[in-house]
């Protein structure tokens, strides 16, 4: 991947000399590949658990397999499955293999989530990993946390959950939009843009990012000259694209999920240079099959978390060979691993007891990077600090991660995002 990163760097610098003044000049790519956060433990060398449990730890998932976010489901589910595999290979939690039950979250139009939650709760799960969409999470958070079960989202980024009245049972591995938005906005300005246009998905995710990008653009002295919203379920974006292009901004941020696949061709057809385009985690994905080669070359995007390592990708493919995307796979993996560790630390599979341990297994203590490694330390009486695929993960009392890396990616000539640089931030 380093090889293609190189060519894109050349391209952009070449264009800086020749192309029109509006073309941006971003800080040099630092390249980089995803690295495992640290050495994995040896599952064979894990000592036996000191605690026991009557019922094995049972975790439910509430991830989208239908509805408009259906494409986000597979990597997330694979992430959780991979974690479960690894945990059980290391002997499970409290002496028993853990169980995982998958249910569909649908999207907010189908209201399938409530039903799935009822089903999961009736099966006695201790924690539910999900939902992906902040909107869905809001409709079920009362139900889940009201039943004394942990809700652990790998992908909710809405700031609202920070202050939600959740009995301390809502947690998430995805950083709130605050950080990604700030870093992206600032990064765009550091590329020399003065005016920014945005095409934004009108939902918790989109508007959260949008307002943070806007704040940082404005505080850097730039101006957001066009903001066009579209709704989930909208499917043609010509008016949004046209009016953003009409404002002739130096940079255009596309805050969307899959809709980017329809938005980008409209933008580039209108003569927008790829290097003016910026994406976010919802849409910084591989477009090699969707767009003509070179279309996105030089465009950039941010994804929270460190770059997905080759190792991790391979392991995920082992779980689900059909995977194409990696979005939130790390966050999902980390969610399950953290739950298992906290359960082990609590010596219990009760939701509230697990929740009480989440903060401590994520921060302050001896670094460890997977279940086998961490649980070895834990059973040896040590204090652990789990760092996962999604970042260093240290929870605050609200259940939010307090620090995170935001990876910046740059598209190569094949329309594949390549790691460009990484910025750390605290919340």
């Amino acid at each position: 991947s380093g090889g293609s990163g190189e060519s894109s760097a050349e391209e952009t610098s070449a264009e800086t000399e020749t192309a029109a003044a509006s073309v941006l000049s971003c800080p040099e790519s630092q390249g980089g590949t995803g690295e495992d956060p640290g050495a994995k433990g040896d599952p064979a060398a894990v000592p036996a658990s000191t605690g026991t449990t009557d019922a094995p730890l049972k975790i439910g998932t509430l991830l989208p397999t239908t509805g408009s976010l259906a494409y986000l489901g597979p990597p997330e589910i694979a992430g959780t499955n991979l974690a479960v595999e690894e945990i059980n290979a290391a002997g499970g939690v409290l002496g028993k293999d853990i169980e995982i039950v998958h249910r569909d979250s649908g999207d907010t139009t189908t209201d399938i989530a409530t039903q799935s939650v009822n089903d999961l709760l009736s099966q006695g799960v201790s924690a539910i990993v999900g939902a992906a969409s902040s909107g869905v999470s809001k409709t079920v958070i009362g139900n889940i946390t009201g039943a004394g079960v942990i809700q652990f989202s790998p992908a909710n980024t809405s700031p609202d959950f920070t202050t939600w009245d959740d009995n301390g049972l809502y947690w998430r591995t995805a950083p709130s939009d605050l950080l990604q938005g700030r870093i992206l906005g600032n990064y765009i300005m550091s590329c020399g843009a003065q005016t920014v246009g945005m095409i934004v998905l009108n939902d918790a995710y989109g508007t959260g990012l949008q307002s943070n990008v806007k704040t940082s653009v404005e505080s850097a002295g730039g101006q957001v000259v066009a903001e066009e919203m579209f709704n989930e379920g909208d499917s043609q974006f010509s008016s949004q694209v046209d009016s953003v292009v009409a404002a002739k901004p130096d940079a255009i941020v596309v805050i969307s999920f899959d809709q980017a696949k329809s938005i980008v061709p409209l933008l580039t057809a209108k003569g927008v240079d790829a290097s003016q385009l910026f994406f976010v985690d919802g849409n910084t994905s591989d477009y090699s099959k969707d767009l003509d080669a070179g279309t996105l070359e030089g465009a950039q995007g941010t994804i929270p978390g460190t770059f997905a390592s080759e190792n991790f990708k391979e392991s995920l493919l082992g779980v689900d060979p059909a995977l194409k995307d990696w979005s939130y796979a790390g966050e999902s993996y980390d969610a399950v691993t953290l739950l298992a560790l906290a359960s082990e630390a609590a010596g219990s599979t009760d939701g509230k007891a697990i929740a009480a341990q989440l903060e401590s297994v994520s921060g302050e203590g001896e670094k460890c990077y997977d279940f086998a490694g961490c649980v070895t330390i834990l059973r040896g009486g040590g204090d652990i600090d789990y760092d996962g695929y999604s970042g260093p993960i240290t929870f605050d009392a609200n259940g939010d991660p307090t620090e995170a890396f935001i990876g910046i990616y740059q598209y190569d000539a094949d329309n594949v995002p390549q790691p460009s640089r990484s910025e750390a931030g605290k919340l």
């Binding site: 509006s22 494409y71 009409a246 969707d290 750390a424």
Partner: protein
């Protein structure tokens, strides 16, 4: 904890040279952009100095705070960057004497200014020169023209699907909520055939044929048996909802939830006088119009066309006139399926993109078009859909973009207030 972050970051940086060993401009030298101080510090204050879009080289910036002073001079691309030892508040100043002749800071730009940073490793501040940020405005006329063209294309595309819907409604009385899925299927089939390696000129007609076949199978498998049993229109409508759900999720099952592109989905923009229009859109505009006119003429002029209207009016009497009602309805489903599939393909090029719910997403607009024009009339479907398309696009001149369908829907309601039978529909005689 902080140390841990730093360590992580260091690890990343360390891995970087390995990856970029062959890079022409080694990233270890930020001096490629500008020579500055504090290159080793991870926390940086930076910016780009441009005058009317041209980067300025050699402008000097200083940062002062927390007992540290750093300075930088802009590079060839106008960018500057000062590393600082820790986050916090710094006073940043642009040395105006280093600006070229005749260039000054824009009005209202503070200099020096206080830049505060917390929690992120980089902070940017811009010094705007000259007139600062100038907002770009297009004239209302050209905006209107642009939206009208977009609306016309969108409307014609809706019309193609709407004609199929209207035909089926007109002949069988069925409000077919599965029509969206028939639209989707056209695009999905086109995608499937194309990804089997067929050239487009084979894949697209095959997809239309597939749509026709779907219409045929639907009628043979569901609607005809239901008619036989004398099932009422409302239960049939619910059946169509069930069918829509089943088909939609079957497509999801095989196709997945993501968006895919058909070959040739990115098309250049053609400039025709004052109008600029993507090539694909222009082609689809012409195809829609031609197909609709042909269908309309067939219905008005041919025997079988008249038979469809006769069946619509009174199936029993149609049978008593020697019309094979089932055959006529079958034909209508086949044509409706083909038109929907064609609409789906054009829709996939217009958006652009193929997804499992693409038809469902425009179903309401299709219905609105059909209704506005007058249910069951082909020209009504055409006129109504074009109006819906135009209103969707033109209303964005005043409405927020996320309300763009509202404009069209309100107009439809208002028109029906004046003409309850739709624009081209006919009022029934009482008594």
């Amino acid at each position: 904890m902080l140390a841990a972050v730093a360590a992580m970051f260091a690890a990343l940086l360390l891995s970087a040279p390995a990856a970029s060993a062959t890079t022409a401009t080694p990233d270890a030298s930020p001096s490629a952009t500008s020579p500055d101080s504090g290159a080793d510090y991870p926390d940086r204050i930076s910016g780009v100095i441009k005058n009317e879009g041209t980067p300025l080289e050699g402008v000097k910036i200083t940062a002062n705070g927390n007992g540290y002073e750093g300075e930088a001079v802009t590079g060839a691309n106008g960018s500057w960057s000062i590393g600082v030892p820790q986050q916090g508040a710094y006073e940043v100043e642009l040395d105006e004497s280093t600006l070229p002749e005749g260039v000054a800071l824009a009005e209202g730009q503070q200099n020096p200014r206080t830049v505060t940073f917390a929690n992120t490793t980089n902070i940017t501040t811009l010094f705007l020169l000259g007139e600062g940020i100038v907002l770009q405005e297009e004239s209302f006329g050209s905006l209107l023209l642009e939206r009208a063209v977009a609306g016309l294309s969108f409307g014609l595309l809706l019309a193609l699907s709407a004609v199929g819907l209207s035909l089926i409604f007109g002949t069988t009385g069925l409000t077919n909520f599965a029509h969206g899925e028939m639209v989707t299927l056209g695009a999905i089939l086109a995608f499937a055939f194309a990804s089997l390696g067929m050239p487009l000129w084979v894949a697209l007609p095959l997809a239309v044929l597939g749509g026709a076949a779907f219409g045929y199978v639907q009628d043979a498998g569901i609607w005809k048996p239901l008619r036989r049993r004398g099932t009422g229109l409302v239960p049939m409508m619910i059946v169509s909802i069930g069918l829509a759900v089943a088909v939609r999720y079957t497509v999801l099952f095989f196709f997945g939830g993501g968006t895919q592109q058909l070959p040739g989905s990115q098309s250049p923009i053609l400039e025709l006088g004052p109008v600029s229009i993507p090539r694909n859109t222009l082609v689809s505009l012409i195809v829609s119009l031609a197909v609709i006119l042909v269908v309309a003429l067939l219905l008005l002029r041919t025997r079988i066309g008249k038979a469809t209207r006769a069946v619509a009016d009174n199936p029993a009497l149609a049978a008593a006139s020697g019309i094979d009602v089932d055959r006529v309805i079958r034909l209508v489903w086949v044509i409706g399926g083909a038109l929907a599939a064609m609409g789906g393909i054009l829709w996939a090029y217009y958006r652009p993109g193929v997804s499992f719910n693409m038809g469902q997403q425009i179903l309401l607009l299709i219905f609105a078009g059909v209704t506005l024009g007058g249910l069951g009339t082909v020209f009504g479907a055409l006129v109504g859909s074009v109006l819906v398309g135009l209103f969707v696009e033109i209303s964005t001149l005043w409405l927020e973009a996320d309300l763009k369908y509202v404009g069209a829907l309100v107009i439809m309601i208002l028109v029906l207030l004046v003409r309850p039978q739709g624009l081209l529909g006919r009022r029934e005689r009482i008594g």
